[in-house]
Amino acid sequence: MKTFEEKWTAWLDDQLSGPELEAFEASLPDLEAARAEKRDAKKLGSFLKRELAAQTLSNEEFFSHQLRERIARETEEDQPRTRSSWWTVPRLVWCGATALALFLLTSIVFLSEEQPAEQSDYLTQILNTRVDSTVNPNATISIFESNKTDNKVTVLWTEGLQSLPADYAAK
């Protein structure tokens, strides 16, 4: 069921016909006044058409040129976003795990080359036999040796020693 506004609009635009037109015109209290308003509305329509349709786009070619540039620029801007999608979460996890494994491997290799100086058991035993146990009952002597290629160091570690054997100082 059309409202009055809808019927009126259809009537103004000559969209009513047959019994619908007759029924609508019969329902109008003053048909002549309505027809005058219809003429007025048509006058408004043609006036608007005449005045507003004259609007043109100046610099049409520049408009298209600017649009082409903008589309090209925005398409280009969208592309890096597509490329950055390479860094998906699984890939990030794999990259992290690989980096960690490489770090651990490098650390192990590096540390194995940099072992601390080993205690020389053989030299320690010799020194202990040379210390007089009656004078130094609780004496312990240790020797540490570092055998690096460019830097050889020997550390003598003594505890509870009252005096050094006389001949040791000479050696």
Binding site: K2, T3, E5, E6, W8, T9, A10, L12, D13, Q15, E37, D40, A41, K43, L44, G45, F47, L48, K49, E51, L52, A53, A54, Q55, T56, L57, S58, E60, F63, S64, Q66, L67, R68, R70, I71, A72, E74
Partner: protein
């Protein structure tokens, strides 16, 4: 609906051009732009009454059309589809502007611009100064009257009276029912008749 086409362009159907656009051919889109740019610009200009804003909104509309052309299924004509984008962009812009203006009527901040006399589609001599002034005055009255209408009413009256679109095309473009279109037309006409009667009766 008339479009700007050269005879060579007219040979290529609109649907073919759309298909080419969907394959990423910007040249095809350029042809569609050439066909519709003037009408799109004029439509927007008649709604916003400012040349620079109309230019920007027309650009925005075409960029949106390019980005979403992959979703065009051909269920409606291309011009209905592009007009829908144009109307969405323009009505959104008008609404935002209304909100910024604190809900004021659409008539205060509108900058009235003279129609470019260097119109090239129909070569003609420049009007005489008094004719130009008279024309400016008329245009100003029309713009003020249209500015009193809501964006939806503006869209309906312009599509009907200027573009001569059918009710169902307007409804499709605005995404509303035909009854709504007819009802909006009723009120928009009444308002414009009241505001402009003295102008069009005396021209």
């Amino acid at each position: 609906m008339k479009t700007e086409t050269t005879p060579a362009q007219a040979d290529v159907s609109e649907l073919d051009l759309v298909r080419q656009c969907q394959e990423g051919q910007t040249d095809a889109f350029d042809q569609l732009v050439t066909r519709y740019r003037t009408r799109v610009f004029a439509m927007i200009y008649n709604m916003v009454h400012n040349e620079q804003d109309a230019w920007d909104l027309a650009q925005e509309s075409f960029v949106k059309a390019w980005k979403s052309i992959g979703r065009f299924k051909g269920k409606s004509s291309f011009y209905t589809w592009i007009y829908r984008i144009v109307m969405n962009v323009t009505i959104d812009w008008l609404r935002k502007r209304q909100i910024k203006a604190g809900g004021a009527e659409f008539d205060d901040a509108i900058e009235l611009k003279e129609i470019d006399p260097a119109s090239k589609t129909v070569p003609k001599a420049d009007p005489l100064p008094h004719q130009r002034m008279q024309h400016q005055e008329i245009r100003s009255r029309i713009d003020k009257a249209i500015a009193q209408l809501s964006p939806e009413h503006r869209a309906v009256i312009l599509m009907k009276e200027i573009e001569e679109m059918q009710y169902h095309e307007i409804a499709e473009t605005l995404g509303c029912s035909i009854g709504t279109v007819m009802s909006r037309l009723f009120y928009a006409r009444k308002k414009l008749q009241n505001s402009l009667r003295d102008v069009y009766e005396n021209v």
